[in-house]
């Protein structure tokens, strides 16, 4: 098994491996140039760059889906190297934690329905498969092709779980077409399923022509007719056709995946006008909380993107890199735009989100929050093997926090209750006990340790004073309880619970 896995990885790299020539630094500069022009036009002065602690926490949450341990945080803060931010980015994007984090991100973006309880096993298998492919550095285009052309039935010895995409759309041509168009092209065709869309350019025929690529093929007849599909409640039958017009790239050899293969090669071709733009828009929204085009699935709708030239340049660079996700993540997180602080003067009106002149305070996904709690309380992440009971716990926790756009989601009362009264609080007790019992640390050093573990920074003097007073007031023998109060407050605060 390991040998075969390694072979597959090597083949994957040889076949479609991203080119390593692209320079993320150049692209980061281009991002900042485009945005600087936009800020000048809007007469908005962007906020300064985030300090090291703010950057560290964002980079960990965005690239690895968790926060640094206290030791990692202290090491980064005390590191005097000039390019330590770039070094950190390089290390994080290549980390196993990053593959795991983005497996969740893409699984949720491509298969929002997989968060429903009944889809659990498929969601898990799909995510595990994605994790392996991402860890192997597979190109984004290749991932999408594998998802779109997965065999409809499990084949002996076939490790691919990409089939979940078919299963969770019930193998229905209309649902597969709508889901694939939305996820991989940023096109919302859903309304055209029932009627010609009043505003956008999609007709009902176009919807069903797209759906026909996903129809179960009939045995006989010329290629296109094998996939002919009857529009429900009508007597009209349509054959596969591309929404962009043009010739369908039918595969040379026909099998029962022929329609999906044709759709996949059109969708992931460099000439496709939507594919790369949609991918960079999703990555941007993931890293900034707001996409360059919003909503994320109206790429070809009426709403123009906020920065069309920027998006086009990102899309072109991403395609040129061989759809290398690590390259794209590195370039964007190295930009000044990404590294800005979320601080903003209390009284001043905040600039519109789409100018990206200030970092948004973003909500965390359930998985991010769960991993952050594990890191803060010194427990290992449950990603070593899938049967880890910790993985089940993570699922339960994440279910409570699931949201379509975690970055923008409002925290709910049940979520707040779960954090204030639930497992995280009780798990914290061991960390607190260890810190409280450490005979060689002063009270201030103990406070530093709790801050580094939870907020990835050291407290200011003004912050420390009331907390140290709380511990001092507890009296001899009661300090552990007082430290527990402090740590509880740290873990329940908005600073811990958000990405900022």
């Amino acid at each position: 098994m390991p040998a075969r896995f390694l072979t597959a990885v090597a083949l994957g790299l040889a076949a479609s491996g991203p080119s390593r020539a692209a320079d993320p630094h150049k692209l980061a500069d281009a991002i900042d140039k485009h945005l600087a022009a936009a800020h000048a036009r809007a007469r908005v002065v962007p906020v300064p760059l985030a300090d090291d602690a703010e950057f560290l926490r964002c980079a960990y949450l965005d690239l690895a889906g968790t926060i640094p341990t206290a030791a990692e945080a202290a090491a980064f803060l005390d590191d005097k190297t000039a390019d330590k931010r770039a070094n950190l980015i390089e290390r994080l994007v290549a980390s196993p934690a990053s593959a795991r984090h983005f497996a969740t991100v893409w699984r949720r973006a491509w298969l929002p329905q997989s968060d429903a309880g009944a889809a659990g096993p498929q969601a898990e298998a799909f995510e595990r498969w994605l994790r392996g492919r991402l860890a192997a550095g597979t190109g984004y285009d290749e991932l999408v092709r594998e998802v779109l052309t997965a065999p409809a039935r499990p084949e002996p010895g076939d490790p691919s779980a990409a089939r979940a995409f078919l299963e969770l759309n019930g193998f229905r041509p209309e649902d597969l077409a709508a889901n694939a168009s939305r996820s991989f092209l940023g096109l919302n065709l859903d309304c055209a399923q029932c009627h010609d869309h009043p505003f956008a350019k999609w007709s009902r025929d176009q919807f069903w022509e797209t759906a026909a690529f996903f129809a179960p093929p009939k045995d006989a007849g010329p290629t296109a007719e094998r996939l002919a599909l009857l529009i429900p409640n009508t007597s009209r039958s349509v054959s596969p056709a591309l929404v962009t017009g043009g010739a369908v790239p039918w595969p040379k050899e026909w099998d029962d995946r022929g329609g999906r293969r044709a759709f996949a090669s059109w969708a992931t071709a460099k000439a496709n006008p939507y594919f790369a733009k949609n991918a960079v828009n999703h990555v941007w929204a993931q890293l900034f909380g707001t996409g360059l085009a919003e909503p994320l699935d109206v790429l070809a709708g009426d709403e123009p993107p906020a920065h069309p030239e920027l998006r086009n340049e990102l899309a072109a660079a991403f395609a040129d890199s061989g759809y290398d996700l690590r390259f794209l993540l590195t370039a964007v997180t190295r930009s000044k735009a990404y590294q800005r602080t979320s601080r903003w003067p209390p009284a001043a009106p905040a600039p519109p989100r789409h100018l990206f002149a200030r970092a948004e305070v973003r909500g965390l996904s359930g998985e991010q929050l769960f991993h952050a709690l594990l890191a803060a309380t010194g427990r290992p992440r449950p990603d070593a093997h899938p049967d880890d009971p910790g993985a089940k716990l993570r699922k339960q926790f994440a279910d409570r926090f699931r949201a379509d756009r975690p970055a923008r989601a409002d925290r709910t009362i049940p979520q707040a209750l779960a954090l204030m009264n639930g497992e995280p609080a009780s798990a914290a007790s061991k960390t607190v006990q260890a810190v409280a019992d450490a005979p060689f640390l002063s009270a201030r050093q103990k406070l530093d340790a709790l801050f580094l573990a939870s907020l990835s920074r050291r407290p200011t003097a003004a912050e420390a004073a009331p907390l140290l007073a709380h511990v001092a007031a507890a009296g001899t023998g009661r300090e552990p309880g007082a430290w527990a109060d402090v740590f509880w407050a740290l873990l329940n605060g908005a600073e811990f619970g958000t990405n900022h």
Partner: protein
Amino acid sequence: MSLPSRRRFLGVSAAAGTSGWFGRFARAAAPDPKRKRSCVLLWMQGGPSTIDLWDLKPGQDNGGPFKAIPTAVPGVRIGEHLPKVAAWMKHLSVVRSVSTKEGDHGRATFLSRTGQVPQPAVPYPTVAACVAKELGATAADLPNYVSIAPRRYDGLLSGGFLGPRFAPLVIAEDATGDPDAALRVAHLRGAGNDPARLALLDGMNARFAADRPGSVTAGTLTATARATRLMSEAAAGTFDLSAEKGATRDRYGRTLFGQGCLLARRLVEKGVPFVEVTLDGWDTHSNNFPAVQGLCGALDRAWDALLTDLKDRGLLETTTIVCMGEFGRTPKINQGKGRDHYPAAWSAVFGGAGVKGGRVVGKTSTDGTAVEERPVSAPDLLATVCKAVGIDPTKQNDGPNGRPIRIVPPGAEPVEELL
């Protein structure tokens, strides 16, 4: 709940005389005139077959096997599987002429809850959230809007642009199985209910929020504050259904919906302005009739118990009841003995506070396929809810980019015949 506090809670209730016919009688005789109104929405998830519930077509091909039975109001007949509800008809009115255009569950649900056609860029709040905003007290221990047993909320049906303060407390979301386990508010008690800890947390949050404005910061702080208030003894006890007598719980039916309605009553008693309880399963594309009969059993029993208890407590005068879904179902019965989505002609039911009972508004054709008299839109229904609970449906809230947006969109007319 710890033992002593539990006993204290029950003790207070007993001293106040919440049991026995005399207490009920005394309160029924003297409803609190200053009491604000509440609304309970019985949400029939999936699109109820209103042609089998409220607007039967006996003798027609489309009619199906169900009989129409007489009700407490002469001349008004409803489906045979709602006999207990039929006895309450003097307090209930049926709108038989609702007509909408959305036939997709998600879009139709959005329309019948917000009054708006979905536009991804504008997060409209539900009218329930608007009602909760108008009637609710900001400092109440209990949330002003509670949604019991809904299908996954998806953030679509929420406080929308009104913000997280007006989003519902969602209980038993997507729940199946044991109602008692599902209807709990998890983690209601624990390490967080400690004034010293909460004071430390407040200090930290205030410092963080001072120079990091934004909706996510505000939402996090709001949720923490609301969770803290909910932990108070009086608020938390409201969710404890075991405080009710076994016989009472049986009357509502030991279903998720039945116990959900009992919880709704307890919340309304404490002044919660908007409670919705979902009964799921109405998407009867095949074998419509046995499914509808089964759902009616749960609905009839719970609704009857809810009306009985509200009336006994003098709360029916201040509580509006609405029963509806996102659309009706095709009058024509399909090959699988089912009925499909049908927004063109369906019924909704209103009762209680602000509503004249015993009326039937509008009329559908003899085959049930078309509205013949008095068409009523989804926004009209929501304007009627607003009027019944005593708020102005044309009141404006600040929408995205500061654009003022009415609670119910312009053009909506309340169904005056019911008010």
